[in-house]
Subunit: 339 residues, 2 copies
């Protein structure tokens, strides 16, 4: 590194390091002439304050860490956009890491971020994460943690979510009111809380309308809930369950896989089978037919999570007590052509 | 902050700070018993080495900065995935910033990253960026810089791109060979190099096939080259240029806007008008009809850019000279239903 140091500036001007430092900070006991000389030389030499040294003094890194399952995902991109917007307002930088839905990666990444002494951590958990010691290590390290979207109910920290159970319940009630009688659910894998909650919402809506729950109408999307999960399970529906007249999918990506398969084999949506997604990805408004779905406010989730984290960092810095928050953002059904 | 320091460990065990430090580093002049006591207590107290102090000593932050125009974008998400994968291999962390296609934001963000003393910077420029002093400040600051995708030819540093002109040339030659005679181009705005190059490739392909260039067949997508640009300009094509039989769009998002409008008004693709995109977003394989497009290898662009940056950081650290590289990754046409 050839970064200019205070020492070099002091040396070149024949003044003390203290005077250089004071001049750069605008102290009044340095003459205007000296200040100008220091600033001019600092600019000329591309001097920037050494942020490691500043950090060592203030014990703040002005950096937070963000761990998400995957980046190539409309929902998470939108969440990050919200987080970056909030971070910018507060002059924070964001280190982003992808767990690739792996618990092991989450553990390593947390260790890296703690070692980096980030001021706080934002996380949405991987589908594999069923133990929480690594999250508790963040808390016992006294580093603020906010979980969003895929959270762990058992971990004591602030959380920002939607009410997945209620959103799914409303979605299935909507399908029932539309007159659909044999509603299948393409559910997520057994681990993330939001996939469990969406399934429970589906089941409860059936019960409340005196429709017997039939486990053979539930198809598990365990390949990360992606396009292929939808496509492959749609085949099964046609081959094995011709009585099904509507499908409630755990995410839009799964729903788009279903639409793709039905378009290929000439099943007419929604006349023969209706399809309802979850998340409102951009893509869902451009497929044919356009996908009805549930709006999941990613940008707002990102902004609120970051905002809570920055508040907690601030309270901690000033030795004020932190009261954890659990925020549930509202969702609503977007009716398009597929239902 | 209540992070445990070496001093606290030393104090609790009644030994010197030097001994604690040596014990944690595994020095042989500390007894096994003392080492065990130190390590046990350090674990118990959640001790992590202070990375600011380590950084101050090594003058390396093991962090790089990444500035991209926008995150909610299939191509850039894929690039980031490649960058993160490469960073992980080399134990680097990545601070990600979005310029939102604004030159002013780029300037501020570079200053932030330099102030943070990142070891290197990766950038894809905003559509507004037509002056390059801020990029030169990175270089004069002696911080390695690699530009990718949207680059500035005038800036002396390593670059990773595709050959946009050749890719567009090949695309239009392909349309001509398919028998299309009146080929329109939905071009990007006048600033980013890749949008200029794609336009030049279009023009050259016409010339090489003795087709007169007609500027009224070129439509400018200056609303960030998005879905609405495609949708609105598609209307103009139908209203004002019924002779057009094919459209080469600057990006898939624009092409999908075109498809959407044509589907709505009953124009049959490709029989009445063919549509060819650029980038191969995931979405392009799920729209109806499926979009023919050019594959732009985002993941590979991310990996190569990061890999070159880490090599340059390493060379610089060891005072070896750096030879800048200009890498052009190959592209190819993906033929689907829209042509």
């Amino acid at each position: 590194m050839t970064n200019t140091t205070l020492k070099e500036i002091a040396c070149q001007l024949g003044i003390s390091i203290t005077t250089v430092s004071k001049a750069l900070k605008g102290y009044s006991d340095v003459s205007a002439k000296t200040k100008k000389a220091v600033i001019d030389l600092a600019n000329h030499l591309n001097y920037t304050p050494n942020s490691f040294a500043v950090n060592l003094r203030t014990k703040e890194s002005k950096t937070i860490g963000l761990i998400i399952p995957t980046l190539v995902h409309d929902f998470f991109s939108t969440v990050i956009k919200g987080i970056l917007e909030e971070a910018e307002k507060r002059d924070y930088l964001v280190i982003i890491l992808q767990s690739n839905e792996k618990l092991e990666f989450e553990k390593t990444q947390i260790a890296l971020l703690l070692n980096k002494r980030v001021d706080g951590i934002l996380m949405s958990l991987s589908n594999e994460t069923g133990e929480f010691e690594h999250l508790k290590s963040i808390i016992s390290h006294n580093t603020p943690l906010v979980l969003f979207d895929k959270i762990a109910k058992l971990v004591t920290c602030s959380k920002v979510t939607i009410n997945d159970k209620k959103a799914a319940y409303d979605a299935v009630c909507y399908l029932i009111k539309k007159g659909y009688k044999k509603i299948a659910h393409f559910r997520g894998s057994y681990m993330p809380q939001n996939s469990i909650d969406r399934f429970l919402g589906y089941k409860k809506a059936l019960e409340d309308h005196n429709i017997a729950y039939d486990s053979s109408l539930v198809f598990v999307c365990d390949n990360n809930m992606d396009f292929d999960d939808g496509y492959e399970n749609a085949k099964k529906v046609i081959d094995e369950h011709s009585e099904i007249d509507a499908i409630f999918a755990v995410t839009d990506l799964v729903a788009i896989g279903i639409i793709k398969y039905f378009n290929e084999v000439g099943i007419i949506i929604p006349n023969q089978i209706a399809v309802l997604g979850f998340s409102n990805w951009f893509m869902s408004s451009v497929v044919t037919p356009q996908l009805s779905t549930i709006d999941q406010p990613g940008f707002e989730i990102g902004k609120r999570s970051a905002s809570i984290l920055f508040d907690e960092i601030n309270l901690k810095k000033n030795n004020f007590p932190v009261v954890f928050q659990s925020i549930e953002l509202p969702t609503y059904i977007i009716e398009r052509e597929s239902t």
